[in-house]
């Protein structure tokens, strides 16, 4: 079934790019994490009509994709979930807000159009920057960063377990659904009378799996807490990376850089 196969493939490509041995992958995870958060805050705090500033902030993902060599196409593919939602929310703005906003080559951009475009570009930029984070940071490093900002260990451990078992369970779900649909030709999904037994037996298998996992943990000295591995300290490289990129992002956010460049030429 394509939905599950697609999800498994998506996981795999992210994992592969996260485990590459490239300079971005070697940057300290906490640095990348903080930078991403800073960038996200900068983007979503831009005014709703502030198209130039949002466009200026696009320089960061552009530069990062250029420098890191991460697959841009894969990042675009991830937009498919967010964009429709953002569009639905923004699509009425041009209709409802017809105040003139700006005039370019005799064509009037209404405020509504400006806010819609700003919203869409914000949508794209936030997804791209999150992708840059996960596609360059292995999941174990990501969790180390989460521990460093004091997200409770229980949540981090549980996130790791979910990550470990989703592909297993997804392929199991896929097989179950395939086996069902092979015996129910012409059906689009699982019929109502089979909802309970199908999902219920999957749930019971998962519960059994959970207790086996628990036994396996206990046999190896688990007493309720997860031992943490060694966490690498941030080095000078990491610091330089953080300071320069953070400064760049803040610069783009605080000064309307594109407006300044534009007014040099357009007077």
């Amino acid at each position: 079934m394509s939905r599950i196969t697609g999800a498994i493939r998506e996981m795999q490509t992210i994992e592969e790019s996260a485990s590459r041995d490239q300079w971005v992958n070697r940057i300290h995870p906490l640095v990348k994490f903080c930078l991403t958060i800073l960038y996200l805050i900068c983007v979503i705090s831009c005014g709703r009509y502030d198209l130039p500033r949002v466009l200026g902030l696009a320089l960061y993902p552009f530069l990062m994709f250029e420098l890191s060599g991460l697959p841009f196409g894969e990042a675009l593919y991830r937009l498919r979930i967010v964009l429709p939602l953002v569009c639905i929310v923004g699509i009425f703005n041009p209709l409802l807000d017809r105040r003139p906003g700006a005039e370019i080559l005799g064509f009037t951009l209404t405020m509504g159009l400006l806010s819609m475009l700003t919203l869409m570009i914000k949508g794209i930029l936030t997804v791209l920057s999150s992708y840059l984070l996960v596609a360059s940071t292995p999941v174990d490093d990501l969790c180390a960063a989460m521990r460093m900002i004091h997200i409770p260990r229980m949540i981090v451990v549980e996130f790791l377990l979910i990550w470990r078992y989703i592909s297993l369970f997804m392929s199991e779900a896929e097989k179950t659904e395939e086996a069902y649909l092979l015996r129910a030709p012409g059906q689009k999904g699982i019929a109502m009378k089979n909802w309970g037994p199908l999902l219920g037996s999957m749930l019971l298998r998962s519960m059994d799996r959970a207790s086996e996992v628990y036994e396996a943990m206990c046999l190896r000295g688990f007493t309720g807490d997860f031992p943490a591995g060694r966490i690498r300290k941030a080095g000078r490289r990491d610091l330089v990376f953080f300071v320069s990129f953070a400064a760049g992002i803040l610069l783009l956010r605080i000064f309307p850089v594109l407006v300044l460049v534009g007014s040099l030429f357009a007077g």
């Binding site: 292995p138 470990r164 078992y165 086996e212 396996a216 943990m217 190896r220």
Partner: protein
């Protein structure tokens, strides 16, 4: 060298009343033993292993591991001595990467990170999977998962190794690899299997379980050539020991 590692006396166990899975099982296992426990489905093989490692405590009779009686109080001490490899490697390996999983046990024992690292590397070397450390577990093949789950146990340097159906669903190459790893482990090991060829290749002693009782306990030759007893217990003569003229072509009954 031959002091007793495991001593089981009159072991009886039932999940539900009146349905005994094990019924008066008695045996002792020594340092150098490599014991294969065989029997049909439901004969109580896996249950026996789970009891030895303290996963099922509501049994009758006595079990002693290196002189320590098995009970709730002594579990932590006993589990440091026994390594148990699950039949389903996916249950045993719950970490995201190979390295993290093998390091889980040593870290739980509070070892310094240098020692943890040394043990992980050594364990990976023992199962010939050097360089696999960073691999995500869910990308490993079935055979690799099995070897990693053994490495995860070896990193805790157990005195005793228990394995439940180790050869299930392995391809020939991984199977050979597993046999080598097992034969290199020179302490007590106990494994259960339907796969009598595998038992033949790895074990020096065989215990046949049937309806919760020990039907045979002795050297492999004594039972693995005994077609009649094996068939009565729902097992078949190992292929390698079956005379050529009696072998049926595969798929033909």
């Amino acid at each position: 060298m031959s002091h007793i590692h495991i001593e089981v006396k009159d072991l009886t166990f039932a999940y539900e009343k009146d349905r005994k899975i094990l019924d008066g099982v008695t045996f002792t296992a020594r340092e150098q033993d490599a014991i294969g426990i065989i029997g049909a489905n439901g004969a109580g093989k896996s249950t026996l292993l789970k009891i030895l490692v303290g996963l099922l405590l509501s049994f009758e009779g006595t079990v002693r591991v290196e002189e320590i009686p098995l009970e709730k109080r002594t579990l932590p001490r006993i589990r440091e001595k026994i390594g148990y490899v699950f039949q389903d490697a996916d249950s045993q390996l719950f970490s995201t990467s190979v390295y993290e999983d093998i390091a889980f046990g040593p870290r739980n024992y509070g070892l310094p990170e240098e020692e943890v690292d040394r043990r992980v590397r050594l364990a990976l070397k023992k199962v010939s999977l050097e360089g696999f450390g960073k691999k995500p577990i869910h990308r490993l093949s079935g055979g690799e998962k099995k070897l990693v789950s053994i490495a995860a146990i070896l990193s805790m340097t157990p005195d005793i190794l228990l394995m439940d159906e180790p050869s299930a669903a392995l391809d020939p190459r991984n199977r050979r690899n597993l046999i080598r790893v097992l034969n290199e482990f020179d302490h007590l090991k106990i494994l259960t299997s339907h796969d009598l060829d595998f038992i033949w290749d790895t074990c020096s002693r065989v215990i046949l379980l049937g309806e919760g009782r020990i039907l045979y306990d002795g050297n492999p030759e004594g039972i693995l050539r005994d077609k009649k007893t094996l068939e009565e217990s729902g097992l078949e003569l190992p292929l390698s020991l079956t005379p050529r003229e009696e072998r049926t072509p595969s798929g033909g009954q």
